[in-house]
């Protein structure tokens, strides 16, 4: 019965993706990305179970670490730009174009 888990992870991934597209607040966008990563994790562990090997679970741990590192960097950047612009809207940051 692993299919449901897969569907769920796909849904989560899709929601995350849509979120990135529709939300303006940089933090929220970033959270959506994290959501996508976690969707991946879900998929990994599911498949791990499906194949009956633990690679997937191990990978999930790796991903969490990476995600954490990403959070550190990401928040640093977002905070800096927030301080400069007094806004966390990703749409404001659109000087670079064409």
């Amino acid at each position: 019965m692993t299919t449901h888990y897969l569907v769920l992870s796909a849904l989560l991934f899709a929601i995350g993706g849509i979120g990135v597209l529709v939300r303006r607040n940089a933090i929220v966008v970033f959270m959506c990305v994290e959501l996508m990563l976690n969707a991946c994790n879900l998929a990994f562990v599911t498949f791990a179970r499906q194949h009956g090997n633990i690679d997937g679970q191990v990978i999930a741990f790796f991903v969490m670490i990476v995600a954490a590192a990403e959070v550190v960097i990401g928040l640093a950047i977002i905070v800096t730009i927030f301080r400069t612009r007094r806004s966390a809207s990703v749409d404001d940051a659109s000087l670079l174009k064409y």
Binding site: L6, S9, F13, G16, G17, V20, A26, V29, F30, V33, M36, L37, A39, C40, A43, F44, T46, F47, Q50, H51, N53, D55, G56, I59, F62, V63, V66, A69, E70, I73, G74, A76, I77, I78, T80, I81, R83, T84, R85, V90, A93, S94, L95, L96, K97
Partner: protein
């Protein structure tokens, strides 16, 4: 029953050296007094790069290992070593550029134009963290093309990218653009790596392993039409295409290249591209090699779109760095042709050597070009707007001449390295003898004819139009920068006239192909 893992330390030595140096660098930041840091960091960085390079040479001489290292998760084979060598050289020259601290913000945390920034400037503060960050990024670049399973590849991707996200935001001038570049690169990068990861997950689901060799075996058994495989490959592709800046995933490149500090742009445009192509080759040739009939057509479309978008959009650019970004997109398109030129072993090694050579030539020329860009300054920083470059040929003929030469190399004029790079890839593609690929080559040459227009446009500006009264000043380059320009100019000539030695290396590296 789990056997204890064996690690081939010698094979991985270059990686270890770089990462070790990076960590030391961090410690230096933590403990060394501010006035000493720079004096420590620069030699540390450069030496580690040299050391790593020496180790790469040593391994090449000692004989290329034929089996992947670290329980099959890191493949140190001919191509890897060649790519490592290339990346290390390119990083070395890029670091020489970074060494010019006038490029970097004194205190990234300070709000632009705020009092504290003034203070930082007056104190002459500097972010020497730049060096360890760069080293981490370089380490990532080394690992990325060497990783023999998708997990390592993902980790490497992040290790390479995260420091770059930060570095992009550290430009001393035009802070807003720099920060914007940083945040854009970060968000999009994270987004795309999520795709990469999900693709990995699906492939894991398909093959039951993330080991590239394992995936290709699974393909051999199961054939190539399962949904998991298809979607997985597609998403994996998205992540990789994003990194090399292939259309339609190229959008970040111009913005980031434009906003980032020029030395970092140089590092990304040369090192990252090389690493990313290494990874692309590994994934598509090692893991999906048996499936080329399915992915080649897709890649055909991507390549065509990429070279057209790159060439066309570059024509009307007014920012020099942005223009070079589009040009690098176009070049990514040309390189993809080589990735598709797969056939029997001989054909593969031909295509591979072509790609490797192209990467070398393009990387070195790019660094040189960006180095020149750092030298042409306005009161407000670099003279980024093309119109400011008008008549540079009269103000400082040598510099303008060198830049023109680099541009001609990009355009692929004979007797420059760029020509042989293009030639190597195109000829391997034509050698396949497939109409669809030859057609793409024709498209490529038409595109490069269009691309030639905007390179030539800059030359026209520099040489054929008269300088404006308050034209940009050309700063006298630091020893490092002039070294960079000199080296890359020399390499561009040498590879344009006597490419054979490097070609030999590339061929030797490509002979063995990637280990399974």
């Amino acid at each position: 029953m789990i056997t204890a893992p064996t690690i081939e330390y010698f094979a991985l030595a270059p990686l270890l050296v770089i990462f070790g140096a990076a960590i030391i660098g961090v410690l230096v930041e933590a403990f060394a007094p501010r006035y000493l840091r720079r004096a420590i960091q620069i030699p540390l960085t450069l030496l580690s790069l040299v050391g790593a390079f020496a180790l790469v040479i040593l391994q090449t001489v000692r004989g290329v290992p034929t089996t992947p290292a670290a329980m099959g998760s890191v493949a140190v084979d001919g191509p890897t070593l060649f790519i490592w060598g290339t990346i290390l050289v390119l990083s070395f020259v890029s670091v020489l550029l970074i060494n010019d601290e006038d490029q970097f913000v004194p205190s990234a945390a300070a709000v632009p134009g705020s009092a504290e920034e003034e203070k930082a400037i007056t104190e002459g503060a500097a972010h020497t963290e730049v060096y360890p960050l760069a080293l981490f990024a370089i380490g990532g670049m080394l690992l990325f093309p060497a990783s023999n399973d998708l997990l390592i590849m993902f980790v490497a991707l992040e290790v390479m990218s995260l420091p770059l996200y930060l570095l992009c935001g550290l430009a001393r001038r035009r802070r807003l653009l720099s920060q914007e570049a940083s945040v854009k690169y970060f968000l999009l990068g994270a987004f795309s790596s999520a795709f990469f990861l999900y693709g990995t997950a699906l492939l894991y689901g398909y093959a039951g392993t993330v080991d590239l060799a394992g995936i290709s075996q699974a393909l051999a058994v199961a054939g190539g039409t399962e949904t998991l495989l298809i979607v997985g490959t597609a998403l994996l592709g998205v992540g990789l295409f994003f990194k090399i800046g292939a259309a339609p995933f190229q959008a970040w490149k111009p913005d980031v290249y434009q906003g980032a500090p020029t030395p970092i742009t140089a590092l990304m445009a040369s090192g990252t591209l090389v690493a990313a192509f290494g990874a692309v080759l590994r994934v598509f040739w090692v893991a999906l090699g048996n499936d080329s009939w399915n992915w080649a057509p897709i890649m055909w479309g991507v390549a065509a779109l990429t070279m057209v978008v790159g060439s066309i959009l570059a024509i009307t650019q007014t920012d020099i760095k942005r223009m070079l970004a589009y040009s690098s997109i176009a070049h990514a398109g040309f390189l993809l042709i080589g990735v598709m030129a797969v056939g029997d072993r001989g054909q593969n090694s031909l295509a591979l050597s072509g790609l490797l050579f192209y990467l070398v030539t393009y990387g070195i020329t790019t660094v040189g070009a960006f180095a020149v860009v750092t030298l042409v300054r306005d009161p407000g920083g670099e003279a980024w707007h093309l119109s400011r470059w008008a008549g540079l040929g009269k103000r400082s003929p040598k510099l303008a001449g060198l830049f023109a030469f680099f541009l001609l190399a990009f355009a692929g004029i004979p007797l420059t390295s760029g020509f042989f790079g293009k030639y190597a890839v195109f000829s391997s593609a034509v050698a396949l003898g497939q109409g669809w690929l030859t057609g793409l080559v024709v498209l490529a040459v038409v595109a490069s004819a269009a691309a030639a227009f905007f390179y030539v446009r800059v030359i026209v500006l520099m040489f054929f139009s008269d300088p404006s009264a308050d034209g940009p000043t050309v700063v006298t380059p630091s020893w490092a920068t002039s070294a960079v320009v000199g080296v890359s100019a020399f390499a561009t000539v040498a590879l344009g006239v006597f490419p054979q030695p490097v070609l030999d290396l590339a061929e030797k590296a490509a002979k063995t192909l990637f280990v399974q």
